[in-house]
Amino acid sequence: MSVIIILIIVSVLVAAGFLLAFLWTVKTGQLDDDYTPSVRILFEENLEAEKISETDPSVIEKKDK
């Protein structure tokens, strides 16, 4: 029976991982805008812009605060 204890601890930890992921998405503002990203993904030849937006904003968001 004691294996259940381990399994339950693991399952709660997995769930806690998802909770942390959710909190992280809220904190970094990924849920702020639920429309523009769906449009943005359809634009062609946007590779350059994406590279920039991947490197810069993370640095920026932290400095903002």
Partner: protein, 798 residues
């Protein structure tokens, strides 16, 4: 020649500008197209049909000179490094995919732009740029050039605060959801074991994990309920959060007691479930409209900076530093920032937003112009006579009637919850008395069970979800309410006061009409050539009117402008005289046809030909709306800042029984609302401009009517898009349905409570019954709310 559709903005016009097979209505559109084409950004035109914005009149390059001022820059810039500057602008023009695409490709037009990201729903753009390659002013000019003029005003950081509150709510929902689902899962063995399986040590393990998981729910997630209950109690007032906080606390204490005394399992699952559902309900109701600001004052109407003349030189300075007797330079389409005296000729001031007058007013040298007017002619110089905060229009904000906050009325839900709480205590006490006679061991279980079961969380859920749905239903029809309290205020309205200019009429759709003898094409071309030379706003309208009728221009031999009167010109064989009736009379040309309102009289070769008359169009469906509201028993009133020239038309629309007042100043309007309220009426004010700002604020429900082009809406409770005003009656009815829905569902939730109460008073409430009753009641309530509010909202006309 037929009018062609402009490739950029879609405006129909007769033009001569053509590139390959693409036609353009004006130079502005063509320039924007060329800029995009040069930078390989023509995909802009493929993503959406006719995405462009008319860029007419937005080419005053010196308009943003004030952005060179460092003090102003500091208020706009969010973050600054040597090689990068961060700014966020509000661009109300964002409306389609093409906008997003173009704005996010700004770096292709100007290399100085490092990064730009739009937020479609907030209509915001965040830009990072390199200040050594492009200045803030150039950036704003670029945005304006492609058609997206940023709205820049002071105090733009309010949204930051709002965002933080919103995030905290989401954290709480996340944590509550996590704890609730795990507690629920770990409780299953207890529900189903029925003592057939020996759980042994596992049982204690589950219970203690549950207890651990319930701590964040109690101390973090439900803190809002406790705070609100506490503030309510301090004001000696039982709000709906009081019984809820009590239920949460009692549930937790009893569960801890059962667990520690090893007498039971507790009700931690139900407790965390209730908190989770209620948090979702609150969040659902509080979802706000990010792109609207409801509490603007005059500061955000005026520009940030002004151009001041110091010894003949133009200097830019922040508006706040403008002092008396300075000389300001105001260009065409700029807002006059302070009461001032006109020093140079050419003042045509549009006061429609300030006073409600329809037509632009001509101002002579030496006359006073009031802050808030918009200059429509050429550039003028003004001497400031009053500081910005003391001008005629801003004084309205200092009116003592506006000093006290609008009394927030207590929601009808609160008295209900008060009765609810009293009944609840009565039942709890009688259950306690009953069991003290028959079985003293059951006193505590029965009393606490009553408090747990009877938590009015279903009432709270009903209220939050209903208001959330109604707010969304109204938002779909473009009536954006500030919060749920507005819906309750609408219930109680019995009087509706309308403004005229901009509310019932439309600023943009002023329609020109020619009444008189038929003119041939040559004559029309000659008239167009003459009116084109004049800066008078009415001349501009005539030029535009003729633009789509005839093409080409002719030369004229002689032209004389009489400012404020008219123009006399010789064009080939025609001698054109165009202007006011007194202007023609002075040349001994007379006519019988007198027109009220704005009209321009025309004579050719000394013979009266006809009149160009400006009709301000009423928005569609006003007559129907008036009838609908009258039939529903509302008292209607009309307050206009304009002259009574439109009275006949308004009588037709409103009927004779409706009180109509004209030439009302902003404070007249405010006092009128106050008087109505003193007589015991509850007033809804519908207006649009600065002149209605006081009345909107004083009224019980102030609805600001907004056309996209007017970027400023005065402080109000709700914002309605101008074209939707005909729906107002339906929307009011819909908002009123909210109370009906809540009443129905409240009855249902009382049924659930009675069922639970049966178990509670008989001291039979097992965790399992509680765990089943809680989600079933919550989910069925939410489902029914959604169903009812959807049914009612589908009854509104499209």
């Amino acid at each position: 020649m037929l009018p062609e559709t402009c490739y950029h903005c879609g405006l129909k016009s007769v033009t001569t500008i053509q590139i390959k097979e693409k036609y353009f209505c004006c130079e502005g559109c063509q320039l924007v197209y060329t800029l995009l084409a040069e930078n390989g950004l023509c995909q802009y035109y493929d993503l959406t049909n006719l995405p462009g914005l008319t860029s007419k009149g937005h080419f005053v390059s010196s308009k943003f000179n004030y952005l060179d001022n460092l003090a102003i820059q500091e208020q706009i810039i969010q973050f600054k490094l040597i090689d990068q500057v961060h700014v966020t602008f509000y661009l109300p023009q964002i409306h389609c995919i093409s906008c997003v695409w173009l704005l996010e490709n700004l770096h292709k037009i100007k290399p100085g732009v490092i990064y730009s990201k739009t937020h479609f729903e907030k209509k915001e753009i965040k830009i990072i740029f390199n200040p050594s390659l492009i200045s803030l002013k150039e950036l704003v000019q670029l945005l304006t050039f492609v058609g997206y003029e940023p709205v820049i005003h002071l105090g733009g950081n309010d949204w930051l605060k709002k965002k933080k509150i919103n995030k905290k709510q989401l954290y709480k929902i996340g944590v509550a959801g996590f704890c609730f689902s795990n507690i629920m899962m770990l409780s299953f063995p207890e529900y189903l074991s029925n003592d057939a399986i020996e759980l042994g040590a596992l049982r204690h393990f589950f219970i203690y994990i549950n207890l651990l998981l319930s701590l964040p729910v109690l101390f973090f997630c439900s803190s809002d309920f406790f705070i609100s209950a506490y503030t309510g109690l301090r004001q000696k007032w039982l709000n709906i959060d009081t019984p809820i906080a009590l239920a949460i606390a009692v549930t937790f204490i009893r569960s801890v007691y059962e667990i520690l005394s090893q007498s039971g399992f507790g009700y931690l699952d139900s407790m965390s479930g209730i908190v989770f559902f209620m948090l979702i309900g609150r969040w659902f109701q509080d979802k706000s409209y990010d792109s609207f600001v409801f509490d603007r004052d005059y500061n955000s109407f005026f520009p940030l900076g002004v151009t001041v003349l110091v010894q003949g030189k133009e200097v830019n300075k922040p508006l706040a530093e403008l002092v008396k007797s300075e000389i300001v330079l105001i260009k065409s389409d700029e807002i006059i920032p302070a009461d001032a005296i006109l020093l140079t000729e050419g003042g045509f001031v549009d006061y429609s937003f300030v006073t409600g007058e329809n037509a632009p007013i001509e101002v002579q040298v030496g006359q006073l112009v009031y802050a808030g007017g918009i200059q429509k002619g050429r550039s003028i110089e003004l001497e400031v006579v009053k500081a910005v905060g003391q001008s005629y229009i801003t004084e309205l904000w200092n009116n003592p009637l506006l000093q006290n906050e609008k009394n927030v009325e207590k929601s009808f839900v609160h008295p209900w919850s008060q009765y609810f709480t009293m009944v609840l205590f009565a039942i709890a006490i009688s259950a306690g008395v009953y069991w003290s006679i028959y079985d003293t061991h059951k006193i505590l279980p029965a009393v606490t069970a009553v408090l747990i079961v009877a938590c009015p969380c279903s009432l709270l859920l009903t209220v939050t979800f209903t208001y959330g749905n109604v707010l969304r239903g109204l938002g779909k029809r473009k009536l954006y309410c500030k919060n749920a309290a507005v819906i309750e205020a609408i219930h109680k309205i019995d009087t509706i006061v309308f403004d005229k200019t901009g509310t019932l009429t439309n600023h943009q759709d002023a329609q020109l009409e020619y009444i008189g003898k038929v003119l041939n094409e040559e004559e029309l071309i000659a008239i167009k050539s003459v009116t084109r030379e004049s800066l008078h706003p009415l001349s501009k309208m005539i030029t535009q009117f003729l633009q789509i009728k005839v093409v080409g221009l002719t030369d004229f031999q002689k032209i004389e402008n009489f400012i404020g009167k008219g123009t006399k010109a010789n064009c080939g064989e025609y001698e054109i005289m165009i202007g006011s009736i007194s202007f023609l009379n002075s040349y001994h040309i007379f006519t019988d046809s007198e027109f009220v309102g704005s009209a321009v009289y025309l004579a050719i070769n000394g013979v009266f030909k006809g009149v160009f008359k400006i009709n301000h169009l009423y928005r569609k469906g006003i007559d129907e709306l008036v009838n609908q509201l009258k039939n529903s028993g509302y008292h209607l009133h009309l307050l206009s800042g304009d002259h009574s020239t439109e009275k006949e038309n308004l009588l037709k629309l409103f009927g004779a029984a409706i009180p109509m007042l004209f030439e009302q100043s902003p404070s007249d309007k405010l006092h009128y609302i106050q008087e109505l309220q003193n007589k015991g009426h509850r007033v809804m004010m519908i207006g649009d401009g600065l002149n209605d700002a006081g009345a909107l604020q004083k009224s019980n429900v102030g609805i600001a009517v907004n056309d996209q082009t007017h970027l400023f809406t005065p402080a109000s409770d709700a914002i309605l898009e101008g074209g939707q005003i005909y729906l107002l009656g339906d929307l009011i009815n819909y908002a009123k349905k909210a109370k009906f829905i809540i009443t129905i569902i409240f009855i249902l939730s009382i049924f659930y409570n009675l069922l639970g109460m049966y178990y509670a008073t008989t001291a039979k409430l097992s965790p399992m019954v509680a765990a089943i009753l809680m989600p079933i009641s919550s989910i069925s309530i939410v489902a029914l709310t959604v169903l009812l509010s959807y049914t009612f909202s589908s009854k509104i006309r499209a």
